[in-house]
């Protein structure tokens, strides 16, 4: 639905949703802005946005005037287009992994990582999809990019493309909050995002990982990045590949260790359905050849928000460092691959921490942070009318069904030939109401009949003993065939209502399951039933994380074909 919110007057700040009847029940919830944010409030004379004003507006799900959002996208896009495929950066710098539409966690992240007006940031991509606030994430990131072009650096992730955003929910979110013009503008800007960065010439940072086609950094610079990423090749691999993990059932204790030399550098990535797994050996060769220490990448959810993939001396395979309780770790030259993931409690179900990496004075610190509360959305941006209408229809039709259902034994009386009853004559005033209503003679007689019965019920209060009078002789006037036919017709009507009530019941029950998840956003390709099933008996955070990984595994796969 395109934005239809009113604009404030020129130079006026957007005001909050009004409460004219003073009956808004939960006053603790800050009412959202009812007006659009406009350029004359956000931008200074040089067209540079005030990041604090924007953040305060977005914090309560405020919407921007469309031309203002398009202007932010255009300005950021022009800056990104000027940047090379491989950025050359120096510390101090804060490196950020996947954000995935978790705007309220991004706000927290910027508090933890340092004021973007003072601190250098490198974002590794996957800003959008899965969460419900991707537009807010992009608006804020592009605004801080425009404000600090040299200090804020953004790389492309595998979700920053038409195919993934159509399959997941960013396209839908753009259409819900703005329209397709905004979506297409974002897609064109994603084509401008650089692919990688070096830090101090020693760390290579990118979203996914290495590629068999990546022999030197020069190879990356020769890629034409201004396009929708293909399904194979260097551009695809940089955004999609993963480090090879030892499988649990191949632990050294149960199986003889493979010789290090037998591990190929790259094997096809069946988890993603495209690109490769790169082995520790593959990474080591590449790093050595290019005089690099580590690959810094994102792309995979981590329980602790980060993972140091390092050599396991016993097997020669990659291994992992167990979860630690302290927040900072010194870097080791033996950590050739580091994953960072910055979306805490990913998809509201993973129970993971978020983390950012701080490089300073050639040392590496890891800052972890927990998830922040976010406003509740129904899955797929369903609004309350859409959610509640099946409920209303079901409960109302159910009520009518039981009100109209004739109890056994009462059916005979249904067939009363009430025309034969002694009904009071209609006053001429009432009769005059029908005469100019352009009815057929038959319709007129129905209305008269109903009005006469209404008069009868009103007098019933005075003579409540007369119920059912006259029904006996009327019943005799009807042939048995006619009675059967009428009874059948009424039964059919009642059945129809019952069937409709059942249909609505199914819909309503589905919608109820949705709210049972309380704040979880499962509509974005996570099935509510699977999340609820067996969740209670999962005691530890690790178990819950693994359960979430398991049910969400299919979403790691690259969808078939092009954008929808």
């Amino acid at each position: 639905m395109p934005v239809r919110r009113p604009r404030p007057g020129p130079g006026e700040k957007p005001s909050a949703l009004k409460d004219p009847c003073d009956d808004r029940p939960v006053k603790d919830v800050v009412p959202p802005p009812a007006h659009l944010l406009t350029a004359d409030v956000l931008m200074d004379a040089n067209g540079v946005p005030d990041v604090d004003v924007l953040r305060r507006h977005l914090d309560h799900e405020g919407v921007l005037a469309q031309e203002l959002l398009l202007d932010l996208i255009k300005k950021a896009s022009d800056l990104l287009e000027q940047e090379p495929n491989v950025l050359k950066l120096q510390d101090p710098i804060t490196v950020v992994g996947d954000i995935h539409g978790q705007y309220f966690d991004l706000v927290k992240l910027l508090e933890v990582g340092g004021d973007p007006g003072e601190v250098q940031y490198l974002f590794l991509g996957d800003y959008v999809d899965r969460g419900s606030f991707s537009v807010e994430v992009m608006a804020l990131l592009y605004a801080i990019k425009i404000k600090n072009p040299k200090r804020i650096r953004m790389l492309r992730g595998n979700h920053e493309c038409r195919q993934m955003t159509s399959f997941f929910n960013f396209r839908e979110e753009c259409e819900y909050k703005y329209d397709l013009t905004v979506y297409h503008a974002f897609m064109d800007s994603f084509d401008m995002l650089p692919l990688s960065a070096t830090i101090n010439g020693k760390f290579l940072a990118l979203h996914g990982g290495l590629s068999p086609e990546l022999t030197s950094l020069k190879a990356i610079n020769s890629v034409n990045r201004f396009c929708e990423p293909p399904r194979e090749g260097l551009l695809c691999d940089l955004l999609w590949s993963d480090p090879l993990e030892p499988k649990e059932d191949e632990a050294p204790a149960t199986k003889p260790a493979k010789k290090a030399a037998s591990v190929p550098s790259f094997i096809p990535n069946d988890v993603r359905g495209c690109s490769y797994f790169f082995s520790f050996e593959g990474a080591a060769k590449f790093l050595q050849k290019n005089s690099l220490l580590s690959v810094i990448r994102a792309h995979e959810a981590q329980l602790e928000g980060y993972k140091m993939h390092k050599t396991n001396p016993a097997t020669g395979n990659a291994g992992t460092v167990g979860p630690c309780s302290t927040r900072c770790y010194p870097p080791r030259s033996s950590d050739p691959i580091i994953t960072v993931f910055s979306a805490p409690n990913y998809c509201d179900v993973y129970n993971n921490k978020g983390a950012v990496l701080k490089f300073d004075n050639s040392s590496l610190n890891i800052l972890q942070f927990n998830c922040s509360p976010h406003p509740y959305h129904l899955p797929n941006f369903m609004d309350v009318f859409t959610w509640s209408m099946p409920f209303v229809i079901e409960k109302v039709t159910e009520m009518l069904y039981y009100v109209l259902q004739t109890p056994a034994g009462e059916e005979a009386r249904d067939q009363e030939g009430l025309e034969a009853m002694d009904l009071p004559p209609l006053p001429t005033k009432v009769r005059a109401q029908f005469s100019n209503a352009s009815l057929t003679a038959e319709e007129k007689s129905v209305v008269e009949f109903a009005s006469q019965l209404a008069g009868k019920t009103r007098s019933a209060a005075a003579s409540s003993g007369s119920r059912g009078a006259g029904s006996a002789e009327a019943e005799e006037a009807q042939t048995p065939e006619k009675q059967a036919e009428q009874a059948d017709r009424i039964r059919k009507k009642v059945r129809t209502i019952a069937r409709m009530a059942r249909m609505m019941k199914t819909l309503r029950q589905e919608n109820e399951t949705i709210v049972q998840l309380k704040g979880i956003c499962p509509g974005h390709k996570l099935k509510p039933g699977m999340i609820l099933a067996g969740k209670d008996h999962l005691a530890s955070e690790l178990q819950r994380f693994n359960h979430a990984m398991e049910i969400d595994a299919e979403n790691e796969l690259r969808p078939e074909g092009g954008p929808v």
Partner: protein, 176 residues
């Protein structure tokens, strides 16, 4: 309610949606529901139907049927209320009924409190009040074209049309 209930032109047409047999049958049902035989249905008489004790919207429907706010449903109110559910009732009538379900205080607008109350009846304890308030606020901001903080029938109609609710509401119950 007085001795004569005057009918609007639209109500006369609503009544004409029924056949004489329908009216006769509804009269029969009305009288058997009217347990104390006082000529109108009190909420307790309808809630007395065993299957309806758990139905959270019964009081809302009674309130919508009860056009003159007398606290009970007369025979004409009963028939006119039911007329909105016949196949020949217009889409407009069905939308008006749906709107009336949400307009708890019957002031012709869905206010923040109206929408919250009706949603609360349906979600029960599945959502917290904060989550519900967020959903309600968002719906109002989305649909409130004139920025007065409440939804008129026209604003409601537009909101439900944009999301295809009109089709759901105008299901022709005879076609099933």
């Amino acid at each position: 309610m007085g001795q004569t209930e005057s009918l609007s032109r639209a109500e006369v047409h609503s009544l004409a949606n029924f056949s004489k047999q329908d009216i006769a049958r509804l009269y029969s049902r009305f009288r058997s529901l009217d347990a104390d035989g006082n000529g109108h249905l009190d909420p307790t008489e309808i809630l007395g139907v065993t299957e309806l004790t758990e139905n959270p919207l019964v009081r809302r429907v009674i309130s919508v049927f009860d056009k003159d706010d007398s606290g009970n449903v007369s025979f004409l109110e009963f028939v006119l209320g039911l007329a909105k559910f016949t196949a020949s009732a217009s889409e407009q009538e069905k939308l008006e009924f749906a709107f009336a379900i949400y307009d708890v205080n019957k002031d012709g607008f869905i206010s923040n409190g109206d929408l919250f109350q009706v949603m609360k009846m349906m979600v029960g304890d599945n959502l917290g009040d904060v989550q519900l308030q967020q959903l309600v606020d968002r719906q109002l901001v989305m649909a409130d074209r004139d920025g007065d903080g409440k939804l008129s029938f026209e604003e409601f109609k537009e909101a439900v049309q944009n999301i295809g609710i009109a089709e759901q509401l105008s299901v022709d119950i005879r076609s099933y």
